[in-house]
Amino acid sequence: MNSRPARKITTAIVGVSAAALLLSACGGSTTTPTASSAGSAAGGSSAPASSVAGATGPQPAESGWCDAVKAQYPNLSGSVGVYSTIVSPEDTPYIEAYKDFTTCTGVTVNYEGSKEFEAQVGVRVASGNPPDLGIFPQPGLLSQIVNNTGAVKPLPDFVKTNAQKYFPSDWLNYGTVNGISFGIPNNADFKSLVWYSPKTFADKGYTVPTTWDELTALTDQIAATGEKPWCIGIASGEATGWQITDWLEEYVLRYAGPEVYDQWVSHDVKFADAPIADALAKVGALLKDPKYVNGGFGDVATIASTQFNDVSTPLLNGQCTFAREAANFDSNFKGKTIGPDGDINAFYFPPANDQFGTTVLGGGTFYAAFADRPEVQAFEYYLTTPEYANARAKAGSWISSNLGLQASSVESAVQQEALKTLQSTDTTFRFDASDLMPAPVGSDAEWKQFTAWITGQDDATTLANIDAAWPTS
């Protein structure tokens, strides 16, 4: 499956820069993905490298969920609480998207966001005051809470069946702990993108790179002029450092391939092993070279103190050329036009070689419930429906792996392309490795060690320290 001609798909994703033309090319080839989608259905889950679209393929946007819920739970009342890391103003589109549920069932949804979610959710469970539902920022945290507290309620069959209908099986697997389904995929974060300013490109006569070699050549060309092509920021409060985990994951996917990537997630391949160490060395060759970074901010060490979304400013005013950020980075450009002729745009972070096809790194958040009251279960059902996905996408900067999500509901051109790639069966999708790893590794040791790494610690020490943090039992 990996040896497919990746070039064409790559161009399709790159296509934001030539969207109209390439969209038709993409449309012309839709028969192939459908066929291979059936193929992957027959192949089953034995091929983890298969597409995100899974067995079912795109679904209609309507499911008639309201009647289904009313038939299952005739008398609903009360309220449902949602607890999440997403705080104001980013919570508004969520509250917006829950309105349909209230309209249908009469159940109100109380949204509560806290930057301290990760620390507080465990405390609230331990003190007997868990939220009805939590939006878990990482599957690793979800499985930790499941394993440590046993307070998370498995998805009811009614909800699970619907989830299986609308979500690819690998996405449901990320929310599965010890063989039991707990998580409903919420958003999908398409991370393999490089943001750039079309204006800067036009001024300086650059063309959008579509291959690894072109990207490297352009990077060197810009560096040769004395400018610093990349701007990077990894500061994010206590989570400082997570951006580098993404860089490493992209490089592992591109140089070592999806199979090694999966073994790495399960720690069958250690951080100190050759493929990962090699990938980190290559990341370091870019990120730790003052020639290439840190446009608009200063030397390499400024990467550690720069807020990750602050790079939007130097990118816009031409102080740097590239920023590797996820599709939802578009929320930093309110009031700017996004697109090939706009103020800001993105292209697909190209594959290093054709061997592994179109590899995409992504992440996502997951709903999981701590209560099994009827109104909570009804709400869980709503969260699995295409109606929720479309309502949420319409409310702003959001896509998900829900197969009923329509591109027309998505406003930003970059997010639309991301959604198409996500739903394409030609894409080799991999979930953010650090989010899948146990919390002491994925959301502690990795962050701290990579922060130390960018401020001067050597590769070997960094990798050995991360391996040492892996839970022994």
Partner: protein
Amino acid sequence: MDFLLNPTSVGDKLISMVLAVVIFGVIMAVLLFAIDRPKVPNWVIVAAFLGPVAILLAVGLFYPAAGTVVRSFQVSVNAVGPDGGPVINPNTGQRLTELGFSFDNYTRVFTDPAFQKTLLNTVWWVVLVPVVSTLFGLIYAVLVDRTRFEKAAKALVFLPMAISMVGASIIWKFVYEYRQGGSPQIGLANQVLVWLGADPYQFIITQPWNTFFLIVVMIWINAGFAMTILSAAIKAVPDDIVEAAQIDGATGFKLFRRVTVPTIRPAVVVVLTTIAMGSLKAFDVVRTMTGGNYGTSIVANEFYTQSFRQGEGGKGIGAALAVVLFVIIIPVIVYNVRQMRLAEEVR
């Protein structure tokens, strides 16, 4: 009455809380009323007054402290089923774990390089913050003592005390803000450097000095406290002693070193130890300014990170760190209490 024992809504919880407070008040009133009767044996009075305090201390302080000590020796190990795999509860998906007794948590706290760095930083905090704050407060208090602008000058140094630790940290984060050379600086410290013709400096990132720049924030907050207490002590130095010393020929620095400092010594020690205790638990500054990154973590911050951010996974380590903090602070408290008593006696 079920809603009182198992409150679900906020209203129910409020009612049950108010009720608990009322019940507590009624019980206390009855107790106090009862022991006021004549012919009540002495021990009943003692028990009635001390009993509630002892019970609350036991429940609120000793029980959790003992729990923390126990937990600091625990490591959780996954239970192994007959098939050699983990044991899973089929209804909740929970993996069964068994608690084992072990010194591993302490071994890690003292051998892991990251934790060693944390301990070393804590030592710097506990030494530098009290010493520098006290020195500054003492010198400042002497300098402004009985001058024309004393009140204004004291207010100036005391004002930071009114700012919360988090607020102070945010202010100083702006002061330390870095922009590359050539760009307009938005941080005061770097702007001053640029005015002096130096390159801007990354105060928060550059190890190991960043720890000291964080310590400056804590000193800034505490200097006012030290100054106030010491100024009061200096004013309490009896005039006749000073005059006698002056007649004997002591002036200026000699007077300060030989007369003032020895007389206010108990106050100096109380200030030193009080600030030392404060800096041992200085969690806010580190957490707000760096989150413990860039090698600036201290025990109080690391304890929070391990216990809560790392969830149950780091609970043993967190407990061990709490115990370490507890053990370090005991001698400081003992010394502090003794000196306070001494100070009382002097008065």
